[in-house]
């Protein structure tokens, strides 16, 4: 049993590495107008269309985190601002944004590709003279790698703003003061690192969804299987990347 699991895990890993190599070697194809259109469509679907959910989630998370931390540690404390920056801005924002994208886009991409595979549309594309991997996989993987950092940046902006607003409203402190103390303590390199982390999470989610969507069994059962596997594996990948960055930060400090 364990041999079966390890061989399957090894197979998945090889496939994911193959897709990383594929993106690295074929990314110049995105200069083609039709592939760029596909890329913009993916960025819109995974990024812009997710903004209402992200906005609401970020507003609620920011307000909750700021008021709870203020209640526990005190609004004046530098510790509150540090925890807001490290906990909410650096950790939670990329993680929650990635979870939203996994829930929305990963299942969507995997099931769309599985349906296309079921209807033999990969072959139809090849017969049209269009390389199926370039047209279907490349824009999706690159699109998610670009969309997730943008979504994360929006999450960070909205959640921190709502946190400042909540602090100002409930504790009667001027908004500029709360914002000023946070910005004094914020580390721009960590802000940049959180976006790099998001880009990696986006790439991982895209690669996993594309692999499961394009390689499952050709049946109606295979469509739901592809969606479930891509969401499950995507979640694991997101948490693994998050832990890896947390360890990296720990080692660097």
């Amino acid at each position: 049993m364990s041999a079966l699991i390890s061989s399957r895990a090894g197979g998945y890993l090889n496939a994911y590495l193959g897709l990383i190599w594929f993106v690295g070697s074929r990314h110049r194809e995105l200069r083609r107008p039709l592939l760029r259109e596909q890329l913009y469509r993916q960025i819109f679907a995974a990024g812009v269309a997710a903004l209402p959910v992200i906005g609401v989630l970020a507003m609620l998370t920011g307000a909750t985190a700021a008021t709870q931390l203020s209640a526990l540690v005190g609004a004046d404390s530098d510790l509150t601002q540090r925890m807001l920056f490290l906990g909410l801005f650096y950790e939670l924002a990329p993680l929650l944004s990635a979870l939203v994208v996994v829930a929305r886009s990963s299942a969507g991409i995997a099931s769309e590709l599985a349906v296309m595979r079921l209807h033999d549309e990969f072959t139809a594309l090849r017969r049209l003279g269009v390389p199926p991997a370039d047209y279907l996989l490349l824009p999706r993987i690159v699109g998610l790698s670009l969309a997730l950092p943008a979504v994360t940046a929006c999450f960070q902006a909205v959640s921190i703003s709502s946190g400042w607003l909540a602090t100002a409203l409930f504790e009667g402190r001027p908004l500029a003061e709360a914002a000023g103390r946070f910005l004094d303590l914020a580390d721009p390199w960590l802000a940049l690192l959180s976006l790099v982390k998001s880009a990696l999470m986006g790439a991982a989610v895209g690669i996993i969804a594309c692999h499961h969507g394009s390689s499952g069994t050709r049946s109606s059962h295979g469509i739901s299987g592809a969606a479930m596997q891509s969401v499950g594996t995507g979640l694991v990948a997101v948490f693994v990347i998050d832990v890896a960055f947390a360890l990296l930060l720990y080692v660097l400090r």
């Binding site: 083609r32 107008p33 039709l34 549309e121 139809a124 017969r127 003279g129 269009v130």
Partner: protein, 189 residues
């Protein structure tokens, strides 16, 4: 024809063989219609797959081979714009002319452009797929199991449409891969 089928092109001649036994030999610049009749769908699929692996061979399946989730207009945009190095106005004129040659009126084309191929009749889907090869003829066009499930009238109509290809590209051969059936319509000479 049970051994693995393999197709190869050498000296402008295509050979489809199972092991050492050749089943079909075609000269690529001689034009004309040819027919490969096989016993069942599995063999037909293997034969088409083997032929398709040869460079310069185009396959037209019975359903036209267009993408079901795109509109007809998007399908043609994908086909014509992927290698965006063709003069656009000349390309659009060619496309209109090809549609009309296949018996599609400008009004019908306008309606079809917004439809998804999966919502069209099979013979109309086939015609649209055929227009694609009419514009970009391959060295050998393989027409895969066109007549399965068609009435005599529909088959005769599509054979008439196919004749346009020979008139436009007289030196490009067409190979019909068909299932062995007593309903199989005769091909014109």
């Amino acid at each position: 024809m049970t051994a693995a089928l393999q197709a190869a092109i050498a000296n402008r001649q295509l050979t489809l063989a199972a092991g050492d036994c050749p089943h079909l030999v075609l000269r690529l610049d001689a034009g004309g219609r040819h027919r490969l009749v096989v016993g069942d769908g599995g063999i037909a699929r293997h034969a088409v797959d083997a032929l398709e692996r040869c460079p310069g061979v185009g396959v037209l399946p019975a359903n036209g081979g267009l993408l079901g989730n795109l509109t007809v207009a998007d399908n043609f945009a994908l086909l014509l714009r992927y290698d965006d190095d063709v003069d656009r106005s000349a390309r659009d004129q060619d496309l209109d002319a090809a549609f009309q040659l296949c018996g599609l009126t400008p009004e019908r084309i306008a309606v079809l452009a917004r439809e998804q191929p999966m919502n069209l009749e099979r013979s109309e889907r086939w015609k649209l797929g055929f227009v694609r090869w009419l514009l970009r003829p391959p060295e050998l066009l393989v027409i895969d199991r066109l007549f399965t499930g068609l009435t005599r009238r529909q088959a005769a109509e599509l054979i008439a449409v196919e004749a346009i290809y020979h008139a436009r590209h007289p030196f490009r051969p067409v190979l019909f891969v068909d299932l062995d059936s007593h309903e199989l319509p005769a091909l014109p000479d």
